[in-house]
């Protein structure tokens, strides 16, 4: 009953039907005179009705805040108070209501709700407190015993110290580790490896560099090392034995290497062996008797050389190369040791092996021992593409990518001719090595560079990116999407985007529940990773850049924005709910190869060069746009802007992170928001459509950013000055009138470039590779698709 009315009331609040809200609350009050719930709900409605008039301390704090007079244990009321305080960004009080309730009317259920809410909020401090409270009850839920909650408490405390999301007092820094340690010691003997892992983590993470705690760890893990194999215990063992006990380290490593092949174990075996006075040969023989002949067992000889002689011998290198010269790992392995390997010796050795294999050649090429260039290597080995199994990947892609990168990877803008040539090469190659994603990601990026999103989309489909993978991959396709291809009827936006959004909508929302289950099922070792994962997904750059794009798309298409903005506020609140706000760039830049540095992206990848300033300022731009019509101050927004700008010069931030048009758009809204639009006319006069780029992604991006801005301005009733209004309207008209011509010229340009490919420089290269030049038709057709999407806006 209460839930139903609550639902109704939240619906009415959304519609601003406050009178009806109060009527409904009065019914509740009458029906449930003893409940606190209707009173809190009434306050909440008051707050929603006029947030600025709401007197926080007098209306709410004095009653329900930290020092408030009322303590309630009603489940719904606590829930609502939590929501209420959170909306006011009083996150501490939001959880404090639970703490207070527990202090006055302690029960297991209540402390469990406290823990759940704290987990929802990623508030590790309250999780720690709540779990300690839970441990006080003998009769816990299901199969859990009161001692189990000390492990919950320990994990929460480690999270608190590791992630530092909330401030800690000096006192807490001192006391909490000791308390956690003592509580766990009281739980001995431990009943599972998972419990041992929690104890060891407490010793390691809360007492860094404390030798006695290392001894504690060793005492607990040692009995398990003989009869079981656990990877966490292996790591604790390696880290905590210390250099003054080589005997123990050596014998433990030997024992474990009997069971698993692991380089960490091998390395420690070698260093401790040397300390014990064992010779090189003794160690080599021992390792060969422990392991089957493998990459680790051959690579460790290089390491042994280094430990004993500080240089890598020809014999060890030959031993390694004889088995791995034609395996892809070879170049990665040897480049790792490049400072200790004599280059001439390596070149001599590797050339003594059969060179007919394409992988052998690619290794030589990657180690820069090549005598031929990438085109020559490709030609020499291209026939292997005909023999390979379809689902295998060819190392020929290494030569192809070298050619592509030398054409396009520059600090300055590449020539369109070179980009189209590179696309031709990649399209031809992809036909022969269809599943190769190293080449496909470049093909996608180059199509995006050209502004041909539908073509990029179709190649992206081949990658079958889905589920959690979308968070690290979607930036290839969805960076700036609202200003590159805002075609809402296309699968690009209608199907794939919502499918991928499910990760943030449903999976992210379920995470607290799943983490809770991890506590209950005692999967302790995984929980810290899960907590970290959740924070990183919540604060993921990709997630936020998509959210800001969605808001801009809605403006561009004149869609309703109230729900979207409400959502944006809720999400924004969750990321601000921690003292140490950290964004997480989960975008996988490595997918473009090891030579790509995120901080110095080549111009050809410029469309996805969105840094944190860009993302945050664009979100705040949407909030500014929201508040401009009311002409009201927003202290929260001001504070957020201040935080992002962080004593830097705003203009400098804008010119280094935004395109010129994005910069103009931001300044325009900022002027309206913070300066009452004093400079609006000047800003509008600044627009010079002759200067819009004539092609690539920049054509669409500038055009649409400008259009979205003008359309938004046009919708502001607050702008009443006739001249300004006229200026906005005429700019919109001029821009729209120029659309077709702009894209027609771009089509002509691409046609010209494709023709040149058949006749000029490109021809020679394509012929050498036996590749066909790209036909202009396909490019032109897709420019038209983009043009049609844009023309109608």
């Amino acid at each position: 009953m209460v839930e139903k009315i609550e639902e109704d009331i939240f619906g009415l609040i959304r519609k601003s039907s406050f009178k009806q809200c109060f009527e409904k609350v009065n019914i509740l009050k009458k029906n449930y005179p003893r409940l606190q719930y209707p009173n809190v709900l009434e306050l909440y409605i008051k707050y929603k009705q006029s947030p600025l008039k709401f007197d926080y301390e007098a209306d709410l704090g004095k009653l329900y805040g930290s020092n408030g007079s009322i303590v309630t244990v009603e489940h719904e009321t606590l829930n609502l108070l939590h929501r209420f305080f959170s909306e006011l960004e009083n996150f501490e009080e939001a959880l404090h209501v639970y703490e207070k309730a527990n202090a006055k009317y302690p029960s297991f259920e209540l402390s469990y709700s406290w823990f759940e809410k704290a987990l929802e909020d990623s508030n590790y401090k309250h999780m720690a407190k709540a779990s300690l409270q839970m441990s006080k009850f003998e009769t816990a839920a299901g199969s859990l015993e009161s001692r189990d909650f000390y492990f919950w408490n320990a994990i929460s405390t480690i999270a608190l110290f590791e992630f530092r999301t909330h401030n800690l007092t000096e006192q807490e820094v001192k006391i909490l580790p000791l308390l956690t340690y003592k509580n766990l010691c009281n739980c001995k003997p431990f009943r599972s490896t998972q419990e041992v892992i929690v104890f060891s983590s407490v010793c390691e993470k809360l007492f860094p560099n404390d030798r006695s705690k290392s001894d504690d760890i060793l005492k607990e893990i040692t009995p398990h090392l003989t009869d079981s194999v656990d990877l966490y215990l292996k790591n604790f063992m390696l880290k905590h034995i210390g250099s003054n006990n080589p005997d123990l380290l050596f014998s433990n490593c030997e024992k474990m290497l009997n069971k698993i092949n692991d380089y960490d174990l091998l390395k420690s075996l070698v260093t401790s062996g040397k300390q014990l006075g064992k010779s090189k040969d003794e160690l080599i023989n021992l390792i060969d008797s422990l392991l089957t002949d493998s990459r680790n067992s051959r690579l460790i000889r290089l390491e042994i050389d280094l430990v004993f002689d500080l240089t890598i011998s020809e014999e060890s290198l030959r031993h390694y190369l004889s088995k791995f010269h034609n395996k892809q790992c070879c170049s990665a392995d040897l480049l790792h040791y490049k400072n200790s390997i004599d280059k001439d010796m390596l070149a001599g050795l590797i050339s003594s092996f059969d060179d007919s294999d394409v992988i052998h050649a690619s290794n030589i090429f990657k180690m820069k021992l090549n005598e031929l260039d990438s085109v020559e290597y490709y030609n020499r080995h291209k026939n292997s593409l005909l023999e390979k199994v379809e689902t295998d990947y060819s190392a020929n892609s290494i030569f192809i990518l070298d050619i592509v990168k030398s054409l396009t990877q520059k600090d300055e803008e590449p020539l369109i001719f070179d980009v189209v040539l590179a696309v031709s090469i990649l399209e031809n190659y992809q036909n022969k090595d269809s599943h190769n994603y190293d080449t496909n990601v470049w093909l996608i990026a180059l199509y995006m560079y050209l502004g041909l999103v539908p073509l990029a989309y179709s190649h992206y489909q081949d990658l079958k990116v889905r589920n959690v993978q979308t968070d690290s991959m979607d930036f290839l396709l969805y960076s700036r999407y609202s200003s590159l291809f805002p075609q809402k009827q296309h699968d690009f936006i209608m199907k794939t985007l919502p499918e991928h959004d499910e990760l943030y909508k449903s999976s992210l929302e379920r995470l607290p529940q799943l983490i809770n289950v991890s506590f209950e099922r005692k999967a302790y070792s995984k929980i810290l990773g899960m907590l970290d994962f959740r924070q990183r997904l919540e604060k993921s750059d990709t997630r936020w850049l998509k959210l800001s794009e969605k808001a801009q798309l809605a403006r561009l298409c004149n869609d309703k924005r109230s729900l979207l903005l409400e959502n944006l506020h809720v999400n924004w609140r969750t990321v601000t709910n921690s003292a140490f706000k950290q964004w997480s760039d989960n975008r996988d830049w490595s997918i473009f190869g090891p030579d790509i540095d995120r901080n110095r992206l080549p111009a050809v990848l410029g469309y996805m060069n969105l840094n944190r300033d860009w993302i945050e300022l664009n979100i705040l731009k949407e909030f500014m746009i929201e508040s401009i019509p009311n002409n009201t101050e927003s202290p929260k927004l001001d504070a957020n802007l201040k935080k992002v700008i962080a004593n830097r010069d705003l203009n400098e931030i804008l010119s280094s992170s935004f395109t010129t048009m994005e910069n103009w758009s931001f300044r325009t809204f900022y002027d309206l928001y913070s300066n009452n639009g004093t400079n609006l006319n000047t800003l509008l006069e600044e627009l010079d459509f002759d200067k819009l780029p004539s092609g690539t992604w920049k054509l669409s991006s500038d055009y649409l950013t400008c259009l979205a801005t003008l359309k938004t301005l046009d919708n502001f009733k607050r702008i009443t000055d006739k001249k300004t209004k006229q200026l906005i309207k005429s700019n919109i008209q001029n821009l729209r009138d120029s659309c077709d011509e702009r894209y027609r010229s771009y089509q002509k340009l691409l046609t010209q470039v494709c023709n040149n490919l058949k006749s000029h420089d490109g021809k020679g290269l394509l012929e050498k590779l036996e590749f066909l030049p790209l036909e202009a038709d396909s490019l032109v057709k897709h420019v038209l698709v983009v043009q049609k999407a844009i023309r109608n806006l």
């Binding site: 079981s228 698993i260 892809q328 689902t391 999976s507 990773g529 989960n586």
Partner: protein, 195 residues
């Protein structure tokens, strides 16, 4: 230079070099979490020290496995094993399988055997497992049937592209009870392989 390390949830952000592979499944987040929660020791990865230091791609492969079954049927099951192209054909998959064996053939798991399903036409994978000591225990008819194919009605109609081999490797404590010399001749329905 491979070390075997526990798989952590955050590793899911850096698996593209492995998971963009066309034959490798990208499971829903909840599925990965289910494995992390229920079998925390049996989800692990191989990590390369020699990967370029600029690179986010130091994970070369991973193993997702579980334990299930009662009594004599108590065993571990390989759900996914996969290795990225750059580190293939150097026995990493074999190493991951051997590590699983080392872990589950000892305390506290002590399984009787390890099993896995492989498409009957995946000759490559079958070869890999045979080299590691696995052998066919039975053929699961229609294991990979799509919704359109429907549930198999008979065991007589076989199809290498739709049927799976249930391959097993028995541990010493199993005393050979879960191995069959003529496994390829034994056929069963998909519901019979649920534990």
């Amino acid at each position: 230079m491979t070390t075997v390390q526990p798989f952590e949830a955050t590793d899911l952000f850096k698996l593209n070099n492995v998971n963009l592979d066309t034959l490798t499944e990208n499971f829903p987040l909840e599925f990965y979490f289910e494995y992390l929660i229920l079998w925390p020791e049996l989800f692990f990865k191989s990590v390369e020290y020699t990967a370029n230091s600029n690179s986010n791609h130091d994970i070369s492969g991973y193993m997702m496995a579980k334990t299930e079954g009662k009594g004599q049927e108590w065993h571990s099951h390989i759900t996914a094993v996969t290795v990225c192209p750059e580190f293939r054909r150097i026995s990493l998959a074999s190493m991951l399988c051997n590590t699983l064996e080392a872990i589950t053939d000892s305390e506290p798991h002590n399984v009787n055997f390890i099993d896995l399903f492989v498409k009957c036409n995946n000759q490559l994978a079958i070869m890999l497992y045979e080299k590691l000591g696995y052998s066919v225990y039975r053929r699961v008819v229609g294991y990979y049937n799509s919704n359109e194919d429907g549930y198999p009605e008979t065991l007589k109609k076989i199809n290498d592209g739709k049927d799976a081999f249930d391959m097993r490797k028995a541990m010493a404590r199993d005393k050979g009870q879960n191995i069959r010399k003529d496994g390829r001749k034994h056929k069963c329905y998909p519901h019979e392989v649920k534990f």
